[in-house]
Homo-oligomer: 462 residues x 2
Amino acid sequence: MSTKVFLNEDEIPRQWYNLAADLPTPMQPPLGPDGKPISPDMLAPVFPMNLIEQEVSQQRWIDIPEEILEILYLWRPSPLYRAKNLEKALGTPAKIYYKNEGVSPAGSHKPNTAVPQAWYNKKFGIKKLTTETGAGQWGSALSFACSLIGLKCKVYMVRISFDQKPFRKLMMQVWGGECIASPSTQTKAGRDILAKYPDTPGSLGIAISEAIEEAVSDSTGQTRYSLGSVLNHVMLHQTIIGLEAKKQLAKIGEKKVDVVIGCAGGGSNFAGLAFPFVADKIHGANIDIIPVEPSSCPTLTRGPFTYDHGDVAKMTPLMPMYTLGHEFVSPPIHAGGLRYHGMAPLVSQAAVEGLIRPIAMDQLHCYNSALMWARTEGFIPAPETSHAIAAVIEEAKKAKEEGKEKVILFNWSGHGLMDLKGYESFMEGKLTDYPLPEKDLQASLKSLNGLPKAPAVKTGKW
Amino acid sequence: MSTKVFLNEDEIPRQWYNLAADLPTPMQPPLGPDGKPISPDMLAPVFPMNLIEQEVSQQRWIDIPEEILEILYLWRPSPLYRAKNLEKALGTPAKIYYKNEGVSPAGSHKPNTAVPQAWYNKKFGIKKLTTETGAGQWGSALSFACSLIGLKCKVYMVRISFDQKPFRKLMMQVWGGECIASPSTQTKAGRDILAKYPDTPGSLGIAISEAIEEAVSDSTGQTRYSLGSVLNHVMLHQTIIGLEAKKQLAKIGEKKVDVVIGCAGGGSNFAGLAFPFVADKIHGANIDIIPVEPSSCPTLTRGPFTYDHGDVAKMTPLMPMYTLGHEFVSPPIHAGGLRYHGMAPLVSQAAVEGLIRPIAMDQLHCYNSALMWARTEGFIPAPETSHAIAAVIEEAKKAKEEGKEKVILFNWSGHGLMDLKGYESFMEGKLTDYPLPEKDLQASLKSLNGLPKAPAVKTGKW
């Protein structure tokens, strides 16, 4: 068996898969500030209508335009690897496969949705996209996509990351993107915060507010906002990962997958790999599908399922999801992409149904797993990805104990070459675990008071 | 036509190509301090005998051991890309193909030789490798290789780079390598320099001296030294790049390559792609083969061909090569991998014969080309690689002027994700060109006084 399996470009999936079409219970709608379901029209100042149509679509398969594929070909289909060295080091009978999403120009799975989002906006006549970014993965992915498609890109980057992680900002600039620290003086939202807290380190919530404000206040109507996770159309675009994986496994005669694993922050890389397998599970397959989150930000494992805002400033609609409360402030773990208080509604509903089995991992355990990975499989994983790796190693050990030749598949969501400072702190013994204290969780959940409830509707089949 | 062409693992070349077997005039031997040719035995304290055999081999094809291939499969065969977006942006009739060597775990072509070097040392019973590194590409590649093969690795990193580029050091540490600043107090060579110049920023010459000293002074005989460029066996290992490219071009029916381009510092990435095409040229093919060097370190374009040392401290044998003199200090261009005073003897002899056509490029022109590349083709190139890109763009423009559908092939030797500071300086307008002043060249060439001459022997056929 080879170390990796390629697909040729003419074998790439030509449709995205929409899990909403197969979920056994319908998704509850997003709500406006008045508590009433919002209509597509209400989103029009923020997103172009062609993406809003995808956001609310119930269609199972959605065609990928040829022009989008032409750009995705720069790194897709991504290789499916078998982690033979790790298997050997663990002495496990399990077969460990992974999709290497680190091969994209921005180094993660994020361009899978950045490219279509930029393309649909361009198609709709938009000239400029705004967005926010925390650690910088998403901002760099969108800058890359806008560069190739011919849109302006403006990224509001949380000030503390802007100062601490200059390299992500430089990536955006190399691709012609404009990256400024948030809060900024360029928006009312930013100015208001700066007047009140001149020394604020910023937050994703504030950066979202600024990016949305700039988009909706462009009087020419040629600017829109773009989000890198959580939303239905983002999950949709990422499903190309899992669809490719299925073709690649079929190519090498691997008929049955036992365990599917991905790390989960907002949910997009997990959903991208997992949703096509969730569909199989809905139709009867026996698969253990595991989203892995940090114990310091245990949205799926310890948060309630209810309506909540996507941002601190409550600019977004209310979404039905697992959440730690929109005022949640995550401890400073290095996996910045996993420090989000909520979870994609589609992933949340799959969890409500019992179709997926969320777990949480401590930071030190993840770094230990990342080092073991780098020293056997070579590629240095992002801190987010290390959460998936930690779970893979546990599952492989379990397979060894059980003496079962399980097939484990996971999403290697990105490389860690821009995140080496975290490795340094870990190797110097300076990192600690931050399991979320119950009292902090309860305090954070108070921000849900007064918001409408989303009942956890499930069929009880899984 | 696809954006990229894969080879499956069972299509990988199973032998390396040795240009020494085909050069029309024999290579002149390396000389010892006494001016007499050195024997393989004299190298035995520094390198294991199996690599020394490759170093002096005249055999045309040398088998690649299966265990080495098993590790190379982590990223090889590397994809052959067609730069369709760049072609379109230039409006050129030329077809631009490139080998993407940035897909390796260390991000460049260097692991192609790091893995075999570590493997042969292990096979020979060696437990530890020492080496030097400037900017850190080579040190990280060797740390990666030693990690997977099971050797200790000790890297002497030039102090100024050690302080300025902490991320490369961290990569080495993630792979379990030990990386210390040079000069250090751990060797006599280091202590001597520190006693004389306590504040020295270090140099590659000093770091080489320290690494060799540690290797040869291990009384157990279980430590050897490893070099990432210049030597014959390094060129040999890199030829897998060009051999793969030939198979990939054949796969898509591309019968004739007109131009082959690679950047050249010590010569290894250029040689890796070019040597299989140099062989074709020796046998009658009409190919323009271009090594591209920086105008600030114009070894092939302005240096003489003669005997010189590989390092400042004169610890290495004298090698017949183009050189700027072993005391040459390159201006501070960001392409650290191209700041070497000498050139691989095999590349040098190909230049003497007229089989290759060296050119030199200014730094600003290269960065401009790198930005154009990133904004059309997506991947951010290393500053070294940008020299090849600048030449490719010039050749593509020439093809446009001539109205010729030329086939251009080049080596995209590595990504620039660890080199974003250079991009920052460029985008902020803080960089300048450093063409080497004639008086500085003449001053540097004085270090050749008293060394034996290497006559530029050529057949005059090219």
